[in-house]
Amino acid sequence: MNTDRPEMPSRREWLRLLAGVPLAAVAACSSKNPYSHITGGIAGANHKVGHLLRDGAAIPAPDEYMEREIVIAGAGVSGLSAARWLDRKGHNDILLLEMGERTGGNAVWGQNKASAYPWGAHYLPVPDAADEELAAFLQAAGVITGYRNGLPVFNEYHLCHDPEERLFIHGHWQEGLLPHFGVPGPDRQQIAGFMQHVAALKEEKGTDGKYAFSIPLDTSSADERWRILDTITFAQYLKERGYTSAYLLWYLNYCCKDDYGMGIEHTSAWAGLHYFAARRGRAANADHSSILTWPQGNGFLADALRAQCGNAEIKTGVLLYRVLPHLDYVELHCLMPDTGKSFGIRAKKVLLSSPRYVNKHLLAGDISNRISGQASYAPWVVANITFSSLPQGRGTALCWDNVIYGRDSVGYVYANHQSLTPPVGKGVITWYLPIQAGSDKDARMQVYKRSWNDWVKVIMEDLSIAHRDIHRFVENIDVWVWGHGMIQPVPGYIWGRERTAAMRPVNDRIFFAHSDLSGISIFEEAFHQGIRAAKELSGMS
């Protein structure tokens, strides 16, 4: 706008000026950065320490060594689960190493004045009653409070409170995530048809008597009839069966993004169906589709695992950078990035519960190739947003899980949802965005390059679709960039040979546990991977 003022405004100019005053006021407001009042920054994401490994930086060799019975590297869910299991089996010399400052892996969490909140994984579906290991852990953690008629009774503080989910579609918040508001009849029929299809698949069993789809997935039927589905994409599978509804495909794409960090075009059909057909959870006081959640997300479960690790020693801020297998021991080189000091460990047995892309750099030669394979990872961006109030649109009130139709993001969860205290103004929502563009390395570099300001803009624009002027109510946004957010079950990954090869121990001294080795990044898989590897380590498998 021209700010030079003429000596004397003509009549016409005066009129224009008068008419323009409201416009000028609006322009003045909008030219200013509307987000300048928002505080925050990029949190976590210690990828620089991690990249020391990748870049093979010259780290001095250790001159001091300690001797340990069992060393577990990586205190995510699989590592904690392994430590817990080994401790319970009476192993009393366990050292658990973690590169980050905190344990929990993808289940790490944070806290501010308004709430505790997750930085990653944030819920557990009511598990299958047949999963005794998981049930035992949950009972010890107070999540299962007892049994009634043979069914677990879940702690009602931990079951997701009502209302659980809503979807913003056609300018309206509808209840539930399956699109129905303003959805034409034929689309609804296809959606109902698909849900029936997967409900039937849930009960299907193969010639080996096992369920077609199960958790942990290695207990699924080996019947070729289903395993062959791992050779095609989910999109192909849906097309072949005549599922064409844009609303249904959006929903399935959303589900795959949510659990696998990629859409149906890239996800294996077996994995896509597993999402819907593997859960046969039952409870005395909840229905089969119920979920368990906490303000801090799965941080609650990770902390509970840690609390059940007994005498196992846990060291954080330690980067394991080399693993050298010897005939009767394993040599480990570790670095403490904070002090720059390194030390060595001679361990009888080692359990690597680190992801495959990390393991690649720890070991050398053929072993490195065998254990790393072709794993690809989805980068994720997670933001915790503290607000003073959340302007709502029409329809269902704020839920635990809130999704906006047709967006790249998979929506947000409301951290205060499980709180028993009436909300006192402030609250926190956790917003999730899987990065899908390009090859995963490019995508990762793109993600790392973007500034906090860029993310604030992306996040605010995404949320303002459903929450008008939300930025005015936002106080703080912390962003966490997960370069390797989760393993991607592309076709061939789950039932290809590489995955089983990567699980095989080295010299009966080095063992592997991580949800990467399942190909699906969920709590149950990580929990069972930890137990499987721990059993192998103690010779009980």
Partner: protein, 513 residues
């Protein structure tokens, strides 16, 4: 006729038409301000016949003063007229927003109202006579009078039609008044730049115009906020106190007969009949545990239930848990409210805890003889959690074996399923229940549920003196439910289904305005 005088005549005609158009605009504006003031007075003070009548009278009288004053005006008439236009625009235009903002903060609103009416009236009264004097040059008087008044009355007709049909429904009171203020200022600008006579002071007047329009435009942009700041329209009676706490909006209103408390716009009690509600809440339960020494109250920060409890001499201690310290402080400090709760919160026996009830019952380990649960209705999911089986399980731990708990349970007539859902949820935890209801005029038919650990309800104590509603007979009849409130099957309210909030929403929806 030569060409020069012809063009002069033309320009005279043109300026004449221009001025007549101004008459039309200012006449419309003038009547709009009058209507705005009348409407405002009947909104805020009630009794619309009186308000309209006195506002119109005062306005016309002020116009008379204005007309009389116009006789004293001398000198540059254009200058006077432009100045008056700007003033009318600003004063008349700002009348509605300023009155809204001041209403809650001045002791006598009528002074403000009539000051605005008088000032606007005087300025409007000045307009037409001065304009007529400007137009007088070159026009025969009888034509002048005829034309000016024609346009004056047409403007008035237009205003009286568009005000109720278009302006109030689409713009609202505040924006209407501001828009017409801008029209007045517009007339000033029009005259200022259409007549050569104004050249000398154009620049100075232009500054005034800019200032005035800026104020009006700003008011227009922020009209929504002005409206939400002033909540007076939401209440029937005069707001005597209002405060926003982190938890809720507290509003007290008063009229000749009663004092009312609103939380987030929902009526909590009226001083005229709250005794019915609170006697029915407290005494049936206390009658069944006559020796009750320790009582817990959840909610009820107004101290009115405590007032009823303190009638029992055997009572040793009352723990009152209310989330909002502002509530309990208000009912411990204000002399007017202390009269209502008989200084109950100041009693030595009363221990006030400002925390949220769910966490309190989860962490408390005391045992109580009577527990009184007096939460707001389950109108949202966060309050709904305080009516779940999980909550009742936690409270159950705090209740003596022979103790009794009573829960305010919304209206069994309006929200029949909600009421019985609360009873059934208590039964699901293992309580035996005694549902009952009373009539509270400002609420309607109201329900409560008593809950006991297996024993029966025997109201055998001695009723304290001075009760105005509860007696033996009332206690006998209140447990009987006529068919339109009789028990209906419902689900159990749990944290993970919150059926009660859904019932409540459905059942109260037809009563929302």
């Amino acid at each position: 006729m030569d060409s020069t005088s012809g063009s002069q005549q033309q320009s005279l005609n043109r300026s004449h038409r221009l001025l007549l158009f101004s008459v039309f605009v200012i006449a419309t504006c003038g009547l709009i301000y009058e209507l705005v003031a009348g409407t405002m007075a009947s909104y805020l003070l009630g009794d619309s016949v009186t308000q309209f009548s006195t506002v119109i009278g005062a306005y016309l009288f002020s116009m008379g003063i204005g007309s009389w004053l116009s006789g004293k005006v001398d000198g540059d008439l254009f200058r006077w007229f432009i100045l008056i236009e700007i003033l009318v625009g600003v004063v008349g235009g700002c009348s509605a927003p300023v009155m809204f903002l001041l209403f809650e903060h001045v002791t006598s609103f009528r002074v403000v109202l009539y000051a605005f009416v008088a000032l606007t009236g005087i300025l409007v009264g000045l307009e037409i006579p001065i304009l007529m004097r400007i137009m007088n040059a070159g026009v025969e008087f009888r034509h002048l009078v005829a034309r000016v008044f024609t346009f004056d009355y047409i403007g008035a007709l237009l205003a009286s039609l568009i005000f109720p049909l278009l302006l109030i429904p689409y713009l609202g009171l505040i924006r209407t008044s501001l828009v017409f203020g801008l029209f007045n200022v517009g007339v000033a600008v029009y005259i200022l730049y259409s007549f050569r006579e104004t050249v000398r002071y154009r620049r100075r007047m232009a500054t005034l115009v800019a200032g005035g329009s800026l104020v009006l435009v700003a008011g227009f942009v922020f009209a929504e906020r002005i409206m939400s700041y002033s909540e007076t329209l939401a209440f029937q009676d005069k707001v005597i106190y209002s405060k926003s706490t982190p938890y809720q909006r507290i509003v007290l209103t008063r009229n000749n007969r009663e004092l009312r408390l609103f939380l987030n716009g929902n009526l909590q009690f009226s001083s005229a009949d709250e005794y019915r509600y609170h006697e029915a809440l407290v005494h049936p339960a206390m009658q069944a545990v006559p020796a009750a020494a320790r009582v817990l109250i959840l909610g009820g920060g107004d101290g009115l239930a405590v007032r009823e409890l303190l009638r029992y001499p055997a009572l040793k201690s009352v723990t009152l848990v209310d989330l909002d310290p502002a509530m309990t402080q208000m009912f411990s400090n204000s002399e007017m409210l202390l009269q209502l709760n008989k200084r109950s919160l100041l009693s030595d026996k009363v221990h006030v805890v400002n925390t949220d009830a769910f966490n309190y019952v989860r962490t408390d380990s005391s045992l109580y003889d009577v527990i009184i649960v007096d939460f707001p209705d389950p109108s949202n999911y966060s309050i709904g959690k305080l009516y779940t089986v999980k909550f009742y399980e936690e409270v159950s731990r705090l209740l003596q074996e022979r103790g009794i708990m009573v829960i305010q349970s919304t209206s069994p007539l309006v929200a029949r399923r909600s009421f019985w859902c609360i009873a059934h949820s208590l039964e699901a935890v293992g309580f035996t229940t005694v549902p009952y209801h009373v009539y509270v005029p400002s609420f309607g038919e109201w329900g409560y549920v008593m809950a006991m650990k297996g024993h029966l309800w025997h109201p055998e104590g001695t009723l304290p003196d001075g009760l105005r509603y509860i007696n033996r007979n009332v206690m006998k009849t209140m447990t009987s439910f006529p068919p339109d409130m009789a028990e209906v099957p419902t689900d159990i309210n749990k944290l993970n289904n919150q059926v009660l909030v859904n019932y409540f929403e459905e059942e109260w929806a037809p009563y929302e305005h």
